[in-house]
């Protein structure tokens, strides 16, 4: 236990170093505003893909409606800051609460479905959320919500991302997380071993939805305007691509996936068709030659050389 905590500490320090380096480059003017925006988007996408990975990768419940929860978090967040003048942190928490509650209410009945039925039902639910938002005049309807203060900055997204990563990592390594993984491996066997499958599926779904809500809040306060069209099922697919590319069941993979996909999107911003064709071919080829994704179930901390360094720093040996 002690060594695990020390390793967490090492990772935290590593995170702080990365933060200091990037923040230093932003303050020093090395990173221009275009890449600054993309760094923030990468962090938001990491939160989205890690939370989706908890549902799709670790629990094996194929959800295609993640952008819907992001929309809930985004809209609740902007209403809180713009109409009620609440601070950003409260807005994020409210967004997470609402998205999580919605995830719970939606998850309870739909998670009875399996595989592709669940996929299409969650896709439908994501669309229903979007269409309902589109019809609420209070939040601007189809035209979108205008006049959002620019409250998100690199510090916010980075530390929220770090929190998400630690939360998901610890959840997955807890007994709850093990139960979720057992559902992914074989639901019937898990049930036979006494795992309350419904409870854990709904739990993973709710946590994933809540973090999507936080990501939505951060995303919304980056831009002056949000509209329901930012949260179509195509963006759900986008997060799915990140998760699948990185590896379903690997946090490192989700980070890598979010990084690669955001980077490609930014680099090919002026060729949207080419970008989508590359995604499409990447998805198909990935399924042919490496269906487990870049990292599979592996974490970067499991690779032997990195593990050695980490053990040395924490001054312990496994076993």
């Amino acid at each position: 236990m002690n060594s695990v905590r020390k390793r967490d500490l090492t990772m935290l320090i590593f995170g702080l170093v990365v933060y200091a380096a990037i923040q230093g480059m932003i303050s020093g003017g090395v990173i221009g505003s275009f890449w600054q925006l993309n760094i923030i988007l990468i962090c938001v996408n990491v939160i989205m893909s890690v939370s989706l990975n908890l549902i799709n990768g670790y629990t094996g419940q194929f959800s295609l409606g993640h952008a819907g929860f992001m929309a809930v978090g985004a809209y609740v967040g902007v209403v809180a800051t713009v109409n009620f003048h609440l601070p950003l942190i409260v807005a994020l928490l409210l967004g997470a609460l609402c998205a999580g509650t919605l995830g719970f209410l939606i998850g309870l009945p739909t998670l009875r479905l399996r595989g592709d039925y669940l996929a299409i039902a969650t896709l439908g639910l994501g669309e229903i959320i979007r269409i309902v938002i589109m019809n609420i005049e209070y939040v601007g309807g189809a035209a979108g919500f205008k006049g959002i203060p620019h409250l998100t900055n690199f510090t916010w997204v980075f530390f929220v991302m770090l929190f998400t990563l630690f939360f998901v990592k610890n959840f997955v390594n807890s007994s709850h997380g093990r139960a979720c993984i057992s559902i992914r491996e074989n639901e019937i066997a898990a049930e036979a071993m006494g795992v309350n499958t419904t409870k854990y599926k709904v739990m993973a779904f709710t946590i994933g939805a809540a973090f999507a809500g936080i990501a939505g809040g951060l995303f919304a306060h980056q831009f002056y305007l949000i509209s329901p069209n930012s949260f179509t099922f195509l963006s759900s697919f986008n997060y799915l691509i990140m998760v699948v590319l990185g590896g379903m069941g690997s946090i490192t993979g989700s980070i890598a996936g979010a990084f690669v996909v955001t980077f490609i999107s930014a680099a090919l911003a002026s060729f949207p068709e080419a970008r989508m064709i590359i995604y499409a071919l990447a998805l198909i080829l990935l399924m042919f030659y490496r269906p487990q994704g870049l990292f599979g179930y592996m974490e970067v901390t499991n690779f032997a050389p990195i593990k050695k360094v980490l053990d040395k720093i924490s001054g312990t040996k496994e076993n």
Binding site: G115, M134, P272, E273, I277, L283, M287
Partner: protein
């Protein structure tokens, strides 16, 4: 009386829209029945069909029926090629892998299409003219008559193929139990290939008819109808052909009623709400039988 009149008029619109959903849903349900795959690319195959019909009519000055047939034939072959290249290598892979591949194929068709034909919507030429019939005070326009006629002919043809021919028998056997069918000497790869051909050509017919009906086509037109046709297939009971037809028509009617009496923005929401209700109340669909999962 006025309400009643409007109701009937919406029903007519709903049934014509529903026939189009039914044509797409037939392909979905046949493919799902035989390889248990939600073919996400099916809606995009329908888009390709619509564009082929558009090119035949606009640039080759063909009348609508030959254009429809050519589009169906080429799109059917495209469906077979997609199956050969993308799905066949994954026949024994986990279902999620095939599903993700299908999403990939769908993106590929959409955006390659967009690359070649540009994202601008095209205007489908007017092939029927401004004909409309007044039946007891209700207006049925020429496009709707064309949709009804072609749908009925295609469905009759499909019923004949599935029920009376050797290929149909093989298809039914393979969708009942692929492995046993194979043991009985049925070449299941060929049957799957043919299923993709038939399903895709039905989708192409639906695409051309939508072009005629709405006068406009664009490279992303297949996404929503594709998803809704899946809803229709689930509503009727996936894998069951009459179910897909009934499901499609019910869906079309409900959408027309929602659009006519509530608000057209809720149309898409209505379809998905139906899907979720069906999945929760009777996941096997209207015509399906309940089956228990065995370990």
């Amino acid at each position: 009386m006025d309400f009643f009149h409007q109701l009937i008029q919406q029903l007519i619109n709903g049934v014509s829209l529903g026939s189009i959903y039914a044509l797409i849903a037939l392909g979905y349900t046949m493919i799902y029945g035989i390889i248990k795959l939600i073919n996400f690319a099916h809606g995009d195959i329908y888009m390709v069909g619509a564009y082929l019909g558009f090119f035949c009519v606009t640039y080759l000055y063909m009348p609508i029926v030959p254009a429809l047939l050519i589009s169906m034939a080429i799109t059917g072959c495209l469906g077979m090629v997609v199956e050969k290249l993308a799905y066949k290598p994954l026949r024994h892979a986990p279902r999620i892998s095939i599903l993700i591949t299908a999403i990939g194929v769908s993106f590929f068709l959409e955006y390659t299409g967009m690359y070649f034909v540009t994202p601008t919507p095209r205007t489908f030429p007017d092939v029927i003219g401004n004909v409309s019939y007044n039946v007891a005070g209700f207006i049925i326009n020429g496009q709707q008559v064309l949709i009804f006629a072609i749908t009925i002919v295609l469905m009759a043809l499909l019923t004949y193929i599935v029920q009376k021919t050797k290929l149909g028998k093989a298809m039914r056997a393979a969708s009942f139990d692929t492995e046993t069918a194979q043991l009985m000497g049925i070449d299941s790869d060929r049957v799957i290939s043919m299923t993709f051909f038939i399903g895709s050509s039905l989708a192409a017919a639906a695409g051309v008819l939508v072009g005629v009906y709405y006068n406009t086509i664009d490279p992303l037109m297949g996404i929503m109808p594709g998803l809704k046709a899946f809803v229709a297939a689930v509503l009727g009971g996936i894998g069951i052909l009459p179910g897909a037809v009934v499901g499609g028509i019910i869906l079309g009617v409900i959408e027309a009623l929602v659009a006519g009496f509530l608000s057209s923005t809720f149309r898409d929401a209505a379809a998905f709400a139906i899907l979720i209700l069906v999945l929760l109340v009777k996941p096997s669909g209207l015509f399906g039988k309940n089956t228990n999962e065995k370990v």
